[in-house]
Symmetry: C2
Subunit: 322 residues, 2 copies
């Protein structure tokens, strides 16, 4: 029988020395913030059947649970420091814990982000991570700072995670190789931490957000916070490798409103194009210009020729519909 304390000790309390003043095992963890830096804090809760399938691979789940939080730090341009993990588990299953913790720590180590505390309890599977990063005052990439005339940029590629979901749901037929390639984007997203840090340090980026609920919905948050509008070139949107082989209409729709992409969408003045490209090179992360911020409110989609496009799109809302 694995007790709560054994579970924490065996799977989550590590022997390697951490940077925290005091890590797991007291009422609180203690961190010493770097002098003069601001603390960026984000929190995501993942629920079985909603954010991942029942029976999802625990290693990938450990990766993804932290990845979605790292992606929020990336969208602020913050440097990861530490996180807490609260886990509600139906049972203390050793194989699951082994897989989950190894996926989690592999990504945590890659970003030098330390697990400093948390909670474990019995209940329906639920994973809640709160993450802490640091950013220099005035350097955070906020949602409310887009300006008319800004370029709109996207990191990496879009839509493959949504394509995998469509495959799982049999909304369309995908061969096994395509499905497993697309599924990697769904299960093991790469948070754009290096790009966020490079943009915050070296480029005049105005606004940024991470794309978790679909580009149109998430860019919409920038537009409403910044009180501006935008025109997107639907055919400039960088489709994922698998999605790129699909028909045009599907490509446009899944790029524009796919969800689960965990890419960055950011805006910067045209004068910053070289600096943006240099930051992208430094972070080894491709970026693509996909549109323009307008003074006129609303989000407009156009094709490569500039002709208006009407796509049926909606962002994801946890309390609407299902």
């Amino acid at each position: 029988m694995l007790s709560e304390f054994d579970l924490i000790k065996q799977y989550f309390q590590r022997q390697r020395p951490g940077r925290a003043v005091l890590g797991i095992g007291d009422d609180c963890a203690l961190l010493a913030p770097s002098p003069g830096m601001q603390l960026a804090i984000s929190c995501d809760m993942l629920v079985e059947g909603r954010h991942f399938f029942a029976g999802a691979d625990p290693r990938m789940l450990g990766h993804k649970s932290l990845a979605v939080n790292l992606s929020d730090l990336a969208a602020m341009g913050a440097t990861p420091r530490a996180f807490t993990l609260a886990l509600s588990l139906p049972s203390a299953d050793r194989d699951w814990l082994e897989g989950f913790s190894s996926g989690l720590f592999a990504l945590a180590d890659a970003h030098d982000c330390e697990l400093v505390g948390g909670d474990t309890t019995k209940g329906p599977l639920n994973i809640c991570i709160t993450i802490f990063g640091e950013v220099a005052p005035g350097h955070a990439l906020r949602r409310d700072a887009a300006k008319a005339g800004d370029d709109i940029w996207i990191s990496g590629t879009l839509g493959d995670a949504r394509l995998a979901l469509a495959g799982y749901r049999s909304e369309l037929a995908l061969d096994a190789d395509s499905l497993s390639a697309a599924a990697l984007r769904m299960h093991a997203p790469s948070p754009r931490v290096a790009l966020g840090m490079a943009l915050s340090e070296h480029a005049t980026v105005h606004a940024a957000i991470d794309i978790s609920d679909g580009l149109v919905g998430d860019l919409g948050h920038i537009l409403s916070a910044s009180k501006v509008g935008a025109t997107l070139d639907a055919d400039a949107l960088p489709a994922g490798a698998v999605l790129a082989r699909q028909p045009l209409d599907l490509r446009r729709r899944f790029c524009a409103a796919g969800g689960d992409d965990y890419e960055l969408c950011f805006t910067a003045p045209a004068s910053a194009r070289e600096a943006v490209m240099a930051a992208a090179t430094r972070a080894a992360t491709p970026v693509t210009r996909v549109g323009t911020i307008d003074a006129e409110p609303g989000l407009r989609l156009a094709d490569a020729s500039g002709a208006p496009l009407a796509l049926s799109l909606a962002g994801f809302d946890h309390f609407s519909g299902d």
Copy 2:
């Protein structure tokens, strides 16, 4: 239909100005830590059916969810600053949200602790709060610093929450007035934040912990972290007002291993008795001396005459038994 964004805006995003550099509504919240202070971080997850009954009063639940986290800050001697809230809800029920958020914010305001971010999703009811406080370097009250010869102190009273649980479970008969008085201790604990801060600032306290899983179990964490033992005077333990009217054996057992008390247990040298009493007076919180830290490992219980007592006691473990 209440959308996720409306839900956050209506119930959790407040108009009053906060101290955070950037609060709810971006990828991350931004906090400016006070120069030179350490950050104390704790995280608790509350699951329906495990930490509270299905159908629990939402206002009390809002209070309790934050109270258990504030209690962890209290046990470190930290000053509350901010918290994040992740909520998984079966549905967006307006009455529930109204009650929960009002209970939560009433306690948050009393401790000047700001909600800076979080997450909401659909799923089995689950409440996860991560809290941040500040403490001066070297002033945190840790678990691993108890010394042989220390007095053991307890704040407030013990056992009424456990008594209420026994009443709900019909383990014993309680009249309605007694049950409702005891139940207040279970549903609306008072985190000992003021005492923790006063002890950390003004008294030579060695070790501290908050009593959430029962005194014997939680004191046990201090003993193992500090590599010492202890002798408790079972008859010195301060019973709650309702428990005090129960038979001696029940009083002893529920004081020693009740659970859900959210009092502080701390150790300090005998030379600090006056300073401890002064800190308690400053914090308007009663404290009682209940035993002594020993060099000899193990936890011994004695009655008022010093004769050894054998009680059948166990701390609470989420993964043992049920």
